[in-house]
Amino acid sequence: MKINSTGEVLTVYLEGEIDHHSAKSIREEIDTAVEFNMPSLLILDFSGVTFMDSSGIGLVMGRFKTLQKSGAKLNLSNLPPNIYKVMKLAGIDRLANIDKGA
């Protein structure tokens, strides 16, 4: 998983399949990077994600809640169609800015 920090903006490039099995280590990596960088904007880039179920929704909602405490914003970018479908169902578009992939 690639992580890129430029001052205020932290970008995490998620990869592979996000399910209950993989969510724990992804969550820990994101949380460590957020604690260390204290960004005002976290961008989760989904272009490398091939599968996601509701464990991924829980992951995104959980990160949204932690960021909210420090007033930071969350962006979800480059969502493949199948991932967008799950996010949309969960109403994540009301919590975070979403941009679909090409």
Binding site: H20, A23, F51, D53, A90
Partner: protein, 142 residues
Amino acid sequence: MKQINKFSMSIPSKSANEAFARVTVAAFAAQLDPTLEEISDIKTAVSEAVTNCIVHAYPDSIGTIYITGEIIEDNVVKLKIRDRGCGIENVKQAMEPLFTTGGTERAGLGFAVMQSFMDYVRVSSKKGKGTSVILKKKISDK
């Protein structure tokens, strides 16, 4: 209902089997020539049901998850995911969107995803005995 093909398997409730289960079911459904979207919907729904067995049905132990698949008339794939775990006290409440007993890292949307991505979802459960989830999806004619 005429049965055209079927499979069954049982797997231990280890989280590494979540991917195995959904990929196996997708491979079974592939004989109906589904679209990429249909395959993705089926994988997601199966992942929800199997994850629920692992997380909720057998919270502190490894139990067995029983999965069967059938191809029935009219291009329909029918799946059953069953456990002998703790069971659900109130199924109607469990199926409400956002209801969860799983704490802050769970969205409570697993059943909502199954209902949105499949054509038919039926849950039956008995406290202390286990839960069974039946899912059906009609694969479109091309």
